[in-house]
């Protein structure tokens, strides 16, 4: 870019110099005339007359300096552009096709490349693994402290093994106001295991990680910059975190990434206590990561860990759950892209398919153009153009076309990426870091130029023959066959894309329209987490909740208010089903998976719109009871009692000798995300004497009429009440619908993109089909004319053209159905409540394709049927 600018500047300077030289000549000649006695004006005129055309001279000088090949190139480009202007359709469609192909594939590949192929930002990243127990509680593997301590001591497969706690919210005092941050408790060797070193200060030491060591912290680079202006004086200083004094010892590197991709503001030593009794450590959860020894594979590491896993299972996992817990050792990349892997491959596959369709289209268009130009080339050869000149000319045309497509493709890629970033749900595909990958762009550009050159050159490479001049010869049979195969391939790929899109759309439709078991409309939620320090005791929490309930229960415009510790579509951590005891019944079956539970106030069911199917709702009178009554979800009731009535039965939920009475059965709700089947669930009333409240809370408000204005004022009221209780407590207020909708963002985004690609692919295939048929009709005009003159009816002619289209389409669709079966294996994990072989989706895809193909074939066949034999035979 810079050299180009310099070149332009130099060029302009030289132009001025040439001009100056000619002016100087004129001045000298005028001087000479004046010296000879002419008046000044006359002298200048004479000088100009003697010199002749200034511009012609300048042009001649310029010509001296332009090298001949540049001149020829410019001429070729001008010629090519003139050619495109004469028949703009082919050029425009080719450029648009390339733009779509290059743009979409560059944008998507830029997004999925870091996920699927790029190295992780750690040295020797392939040695890093995530390991632990995988149970029904969590999608990802976890560990418990007691097992981890054994593994850490006895493992042999890893050069380093490290652990961290799940993220926890923490409040940093910045001046007088707390700032909510994300804190992680990690082992001292955490950074070292990932091969990172602090950007400033020091790493944690073994002493920092002792159980009762004073708290120290590593702060993130971003926090260092935003809160402390990047000043190194913060090192060694004390900050106040959750009302505790913490010394900052170092700053994380700017590019540091948590292994599970969380946002970390502050790292603190986790200070595991090996001296605690085993059962205390076995209910304390961790994530564990490790670095393999050189030359050790993941499978070998897993084998060597197996005895330790068995041992830990026996010691730390409740017997009822053992058969449901597995050992997982997997690469860090697999852990990171866990939930986007299928989506990434799906996107990658569909954009590759689109690229193939685009390539086939360009090839087809250029081949058609080439065939049409044979006559022109033969003519030019006949009047003396050398073969080299013809080849150069077609090459230039192809390159101009490829270049145009490339530039348009870059612009498309940029636009598409912008669109992805706007539309993509938070966290999906790590799009906040997405940018156009220059290597990918260069590759696609090179590919497009190569393709354009290859197919564009076809006519020039064959020796021009005199027969072509007659215009009799259509393209040779071999090349038409190749083009028909291209069309069929396009149809096939389009069908695969369409099937994928219709599967995803059907799945999305089911997802959007499924019964949730509750009525999210007109419900506003306010969620919060109390601070550990101030609300560490059950009494403090109970007092807070009681006061909060009193303040929130009579807000204007609210018909029903309730308090819970969590709400669907997610549940709590859940408890093993097998913990439950029923008075007067044999023990429940083992391996029953997890049961969700919530602590709710009496009007929870009314506020959420959950139906009570049997028995009764909680009442305010119940809250005075010594033990909380229970309402079961209908699935749980059926599982525990079968046909027997659960109402009035007494159960013990947590093996703690507290026996509670079942008062009702509520309808099932979607409590495990939107796609997974609902878990069984029970509800416990928040009685006055309760000591079991967690620090999490959600206030629920069902409103009578909902508008933007009423929502804004309700938000104001809610905030004011919370602020009156604890001004520094962060509260998230949003509608229930927004919360539920977040679970649909990802499938919606993916379905949108795949549908977009399928539509583009379909349009390209239609253009291809249309182009080839039109070309055939144009080539056979004379033949058609003869047939019509001999008595063929227009309908026969149209049918003949349509038959061509039909044969290629059917061939393509047969191949496409085969391809779609392969697709179903990729798409399986992305579908909700429909089978990958869903006949309706396939039928829709086929129908759409047939309709579009018919449309594309109709116009050329109509034109063929309208051929006037008289004009056709006079042709040429």
């Amino acid at each position: 870019m810079k050299t180009l600018l310099q070149w332009l500047q130099r060029r302009r300077a030289r132009e001025t110099e040439w001009r100056d030289e000619i002016e100087s000549h004129l001045a000298l000649r005028a001087d000479w005339h004046r010296a000879g006695g002419l008046p000044a004006e006359e002298a200048e005129r004479a000088a100009r007359r003697r010199f002749g055309g200034k511009l012609t001279a300048l042009e001649a000088v310029r010509a001296v300096h332009i090298s001949p090949w540049v001149e020829a190139l410019l001429q070729d480009v001008r010629l090519a552009l003139r050619g495109f202007r004469r028949s703009p359709a082919v050029a425009l469609v080719s450029i648009a096709t390339m733009a779509i192909g290059i743009g979409a594939s560059t944008a998507v590949f830029s997004v999925v490349d870091p996920l699927l192929f790029r190295r992780l930002p750690y040295p020797h990243d392939s040695q890093l693994v995530s390991l632990g127990y995988l149970g029904p509680v969590d999608d990802n593997e976890f560990n418990v402290v007691s097992s981890y301590l054994d593994w850490r001591r006895q493992q042999t497969a890893f050069q380093a093994i490290t652990s961290m706690r799940p993220a926890s919210a923490c409040d940093l005092m910045a001046g007088d106001t707390p700032r909510r941050l994300s804190c992680y408790y990690v082992e001292a060797n955490f950074l070292r295991t990932f091969g990172s070193v602090p950007a400033a200060g020091r790493d944690f030491t073994a002493e920092d990680d002792e159980p009762h060591a004073p708290t120290v912290a590593l702060i993130s680079y971003a926090l260092w910059q935003s809160a402390y202006g990047g000043n190194a004086r913060i090192l060694g200083q004390t900050i106040v975190l959750d009302e505790e004094r913490v010394r900052v010892v170092g700053v994380l590197p700017g590019d540091f990434q948590m292994p599970q991709l969380g946002d970390a503001d502050i790292l603190i030593p986790e200070r595991l206590n090996t001296a605690l009794p085993r059962d205390a450590n076995s209910s304390s959860f961790l994530r564990t990561f490790a670095r393999l020894r050189d030359g050790v594979t993941i499978a070998q590491a897993r084998d060597s860990l197996w005895p330790l896993f068995q041992d830990g299972l026996a010691k730390d996992v409740p017997p009822q759950l053992r058969s449901e817990v597995r050992l997982v050792v997997r690469s860090l990349r697999d852990r990171q892209i866990h939930d986007v892997k299928a989506a990434s491959w799906m996107l990658f596959g569909s954009v590759l398919a689109l690229l193939l369709v685009a390539c086939a289209n360009v090839a087809n268009l250029l081949l058609a153009r080439a065939a049409a130009r044979r006559r022109e080339l033969a003519m030019r050869a006949a009047i003396g153009a050398g073969r080299g000149r013809l080849i150069r000319q077609t090459l230039t045309e192809s390159l101009v076309l490829g270049f145009g497509g490339g530039v348009a493709g870059c612009a498309t890629a940029w636009l598409l990426l912008k669109m992805f970033v706007r539309l993509a749900p938070n966290g999906l595909l790590r799009l906040n870091q997405a940018r156009i990958d220059v290597r990918v762009l260069l590759f696609t550009l090179a590919a497009s130029l190569a393709a354009a050159t290859l197919f564009g050159m076809a006519p020039a490479l064959e020796r021009p023959r005199a027969e072509f001049l007659a215009g009799w010869h259509t393209a040779g049979p071999a090349r038409t066959l190749f083009r028909k195969v291209l069309i069929s391939a396009q149809i096939a790929i389009s069908l695969v894309l369409l099937t994928g899109a219709s599967l995803l759309l059907r799945s999305l439709w089911k997802l959007e329209n499924q019964a949730l078991g509750y009525q999210p409309a007109r419900v506003v939620t306010a969620s919060f987490t109390l601070r550990e320090r101030r609300f560490g005791t059950a009494q403090a929490r109970a007092a807070f909740f009681a006061e909060l309930e009193r303040r929130l229960s009579n807000l204007p415009g609210v018909t029903s208010f309730a308090l819970s510790d969590s709400i669907p579509p997610r549940g709590s951590m859940g408890r093993p089903y097998s913990n439950i005891l029923i008075a007067g019944h044999p023990p429940v079956a083992e391996n029953g998976g997890m049961v969700e539970f919530r602590w709710v106030t009496p009007r929870y069911f009314e506020t959420m719109g959950i139906a009570i199917l049997a028995g009764r709702d909680f009442t305010n009178e119940d809250r005075a009871l010594a033990d909380s009554p229970v309402i079961l979800s209908s699935t749980l009731a059926r599982r525990m009692f079968g046909d027997e009535s659960p109402i009035g039965q007494r159960i013990c939920l947590e093996a703690d000798d507290h026996w509670q009475q079942i008062v009702g059965v509520a309808a099932d709700v979607k409590n495990n995300g939107l796609t997974a089947p609902a878990d069984p669930e029970y509800y416990r009333l928040r009685i006055n004497a309760s000591t079991q409240f967690s620090r999490d809370g959600v206030a629920l408000f069902r409103t009578s009429a909902f508008s933007a204005a009423s929502a804004a004022s309700l938000t104001q009221f809610i905030r004011r009440e919370f602020a009156a209780l604890d001004s520094s407590l962060p509260v998230t207020i949003e509608t229930m619908e927004t919360r539920v909708d977040r679970f649909r963002d990802r499938p919606r985004f993916l379905a949108f993109l795949v549908t977009l690609f399928a539509a583009l692919g379909l349009v390209l295939a239609a253009v291809g089909l249309y182009g080839v048929l039109s070309f055939l009709v144009a080539q056979q005009t004379r033949q058609i004319g003869v047939r019509m003159a001999l008595g063929a009816r227009p309908r026969d002619i149209a049918l003949q053209v349509q038959k061509h289209a039909g044969v290629w389409t059917v061939a393509g669709m047969a191949a496409g159905l085969g391809g779609s079966l392969v697709l179903t294996t990729v798409v399986r994990g992305l579908l909700f409540e429909i089978s990958p072989a869903d006949p309706l989706s396939f039928a829709v895809a086929v129908a759409v394709l047939v309709a579009v193909a018919a449309l594309a074939a109709w116009l050329p066949s109509y034109r063929a049927a309208r051929v006037d034999p008289v004009i056709a035979l006079r042709h040429d």
Partner: protein, 108 residues
């Protein structure tokens, strides 16, 4: 040395020969040719500069801006070593050609 166009060759010869006397600008060259040949030869001024630039590109002459005796800025050209060599060749070529043409005219 192959020359497709002897007229162009002649112009080149005139320019080089003029510059053999010392550096000069385009107008000076044109004036010199006219005066020395008593107006028999007249340099076409429009093609003078393309020719000078061509010679300069071939590094037979070198150009630089200077001030003329009358105080005007002008681009002065001087002969390079390569130019001197080329002039010798061109002179002998020309002599051979003109000798040939003269004989032909005499015996025709």
């Amino acid at each position: 040395m192959k020359r497709a166009d002897h007229l162009q060759g002649a112009l080149e010869l005139l320019l080089l020969k003029t510059l053999e006397r010392g550096p000069n600008h385009g107008f000076g060259i044109a004036l010199h040719v006219e005066t020395v040949t008593d107006g028999l030869l007249r340099v076409e001024e429009g093609s003078l500069y393309p020719a000078l630039h061509r010679l300069e590109r071939e590094k037979l002459i070198a150009g630089a801006w200077r001030i003329t005796g009358s105080g005007r800025k002008a681009r002065f050209y001087s002969l390079t070593a390569r130019g001197t060599k080329r002039l010798e060749e061109a002179e002998s070529d020309w002599n051979a050609l003109s000798k040939g043409v003269k004989r032909l005219l005499r015996f025709a």
